[in-house]
Subunit: 95 residues, 2 copies
Amino acid sequence: MIKVVAKFFPKEKKIDRVIELARELVEKTVLEEGCIKYEMYQDEKDPKVLLMLEEWESIEFLNSHMSSEHFTRIVPQLSAYMDKEPEISVCKKVL
Amino acid sequence: MIKVVAKFFPKEKKIDRVIELARELVEKTVLEEGCIKYEMYQDEKDPKVLLMLEEWESIEFLNSHMSSEHFTRIVPQLSAYMDKEPEISVCKKVL
């Protein structure tokens, strides 16, 4: 099992637009084979920090997700609304 | 339900020591009332990034955790092995 923690930093005035665009991404991604969880969160103290918390059955399903039609169409649109590059951790469990 | 994503940045030579110290913290925390999940992960590409992924039934249980004997004893020891301050997001689900 693979976990992904992706932190995004949208421009302040684009937070609502980013969440709106991400809605379709989430709705389509949770239907993908191998997707256990794909949820978006917002930092309560700093609303300019959005986090995608993902769980995949294997790295192959994650790779397949990243070449899906919805990912390759929506993610570039999201990128245009960001203040800086995302921080993405593909994680292994240690404890 | 409350999610917490805490990113830690241990000094390279202290990664193993940090994981060893965190083991007791995890073992004691999962026994706490209101703790749904408390797991430590490591970034596969950058092993100097450790992530604690937490789920709590409510903010009250999270606050109680942060004043527990094991938290107040172990966390200051962990801090001594860090390269920089942790990034901690208490999160609400938006999607």
